[in-house]
Amino acid sequence: MTALLDAPLGTPSLSRRKLPWWGLIVTAVAAVLVTVLLFTLTPIYGRVIFVLVAAAIYVVAQTVVSVSVEGWRHAKNRLMTSLLIVAVILALLPLAGVLGYTIAKGLARFDGTFFTHSMRAVAESDPNGGAYQAIIGTLEQVGIATVISVPFGIMVAVYLVEYSSGRLGKVVSFFVDVMTGLPSIVAGLFILALWVLLLHQGNSGFAGSLALTILMLPTVVRSCEEMLKLVPVALREASYALGVAKWITVVRIVLPTALPGIITGVMLAVARVMGETAPVLLTVFGNPAINDNPFKGPQASLPLFVYNEVGQSFDNAVNRAWTGALALIIIVLLLNLIARTVARFARVRG
């Protein structure tokens, strides 16, 4: 299609002159060469600067070439296109950096022992020990936070979309937005003061779940709200026309229709709170031994485990920390994949 359009349509004089593809490659190679030259001749150094300078020289050179061949409108188009590609590269660099760094450091202890053993009776200097108790703790805490915040969040969203009319709805909606910006450590402090200290409930996995619930709730409400809004009104009307009550319409028609989107939103909220360190630091306490019961006694948590181990002096402890971080990323990734798969299946059948 595009090939056809690009082909000269009228007389050759009318079709614009176009920069050939190899022209861009030549420009790019030249830009890198000039940068190398610049770096050898001047005292400028550093990897980050090299990338920045090379990219800048390429973009400038390409624009100059393009202006002379194609005219300024197309040159501007090319310039902006390259800038966008530069943006994509700039965004991918830190991702590659962070992931590569974590993987490189995390592989040292990426073994069976790490995923099946706790830290009970392991000295910080020992090479063994694992994060099993922390993985279980994090899964349970985030699981409970999900169980609380999803129905709660869905009801709030249902209220905002289906029932609210007037000031209360607007106020709720505004404060849900404000809640989105609540610093995670403040959520932890709040639960610490209210649940652990004032109500004397002690540190437990559940206290951590409550703090995570506060962080998850606005995210769940917002994504559900958007999904519910996208449910076609015709479906609702069809249901009403059949004499079905409004609440049954919501439960049986609206929510199932929005389900795939809701699942995706929830799973991504889960991914976000799973890596939170500050709130669990203040609420779950941590535990070197396995505690399967989130409601009683201190429990471990994976981000907390990483945070504590990475500050130790012994390499063995630091290695455990990085493997913990890698495990955390992998768990979040798996949840992401599950969410997307489930959403796709539900969408196809729905």
């Binding site: 550093g46 966008l84 962070v98 450590i185 917002r222």
Partner: protein, 363 residues
Amino acid sequence: MPTRPPGGRTIRPPGGHRWFTTTKESDIATTGRPPAPVGAPEDDDQYRGSTSLLTARKSRGGDTMFRWTAKGAGILVLVLMAAVAAFLIIKAVPAVANDKANFFTTFQWDPQGSGKFGIAALAFGTLLASVIALIIGVPVAVGVALYISQYAPRAIARPLAYVVDLLAAVPSVVFGLWGAIYLSPNLIPLSTFLSKYFGWFPLFASTNETYGKSILVASVVLAVMLLPIVAAISREVFVQTPTEHIEGALALGATKWETIQTAVLPYGRSGVVSAVVLGFGRAVGETIAVALVLSSTYGISWRILDPGGNTIAANIANRWGDANDSISQGALIASGLVLFAITLLVNFGARYIVRRGTKEAKA
């Protein structure tokens, strides 16, 4: 079923451009996931949600109960927020009342010793680091969003979007350590370069030759952390640009960039504003990553290359461990309250901008 052209854009009915009015501060951002257009094409705004032309049959007890449950959930959110605010205020007020210096103008944090503490330097550092993070991060994020939504073929766009979302999955401790151990030394050449050749610019002036744990490093880390949020929301807004607008521009002979300038960017403006606000919220509230990266000083300095700087959230993380009386804890909670107030103001501001944008769009 939605009608999806091969390009991946949903064809929307005329009037569909009011989409952003419903997504304003949406936090697709935080979820990294947008309201995917799961709906059918006939989901025109004015027929959405409860604004149905037909109403349900007046019904029985179940309906009333359900409505009150939903309303109760909404009210519970307000109660929760009121409780958080009340907790912050109750803890903060006695401490601030006991402050031996002016809480808003003092440049030190010594609640246990001299009893003097103030938010000035912390609030300044928080805003400076976050604003620079936005300056670095937003153009990149919007660029990525434009590339994914307007340029990339579908085979590249989907994995690329997924990969950028992946950044949101990295825990903040990891970002902090990466910033402190890897990024900080690797930015030294850039800092040296900037201070040497652009030292006349106040931000890049430098008193000494040690460039390590500076506001710049913290801002770059924050920029990376807010990138997925801003990119995800902007992307979704750009994707919703009415196809006929784009096609109209192209038909008039506009280049790709001119099309973006005239059709895509104006359409997405308020969505991008919301995205930036959410990114800002993430940046000001970030705790552990900044605490690991910043050098923690209590002064106001515009020199972003010099070691130093501090933020409210990082200060809480650094000082909470040794705050063991109600004054020093209350002082930290008071700083949390200020952070809360900043978030509130920014949200107000964003709503205002978006509303104004909506009016302009309607006009």
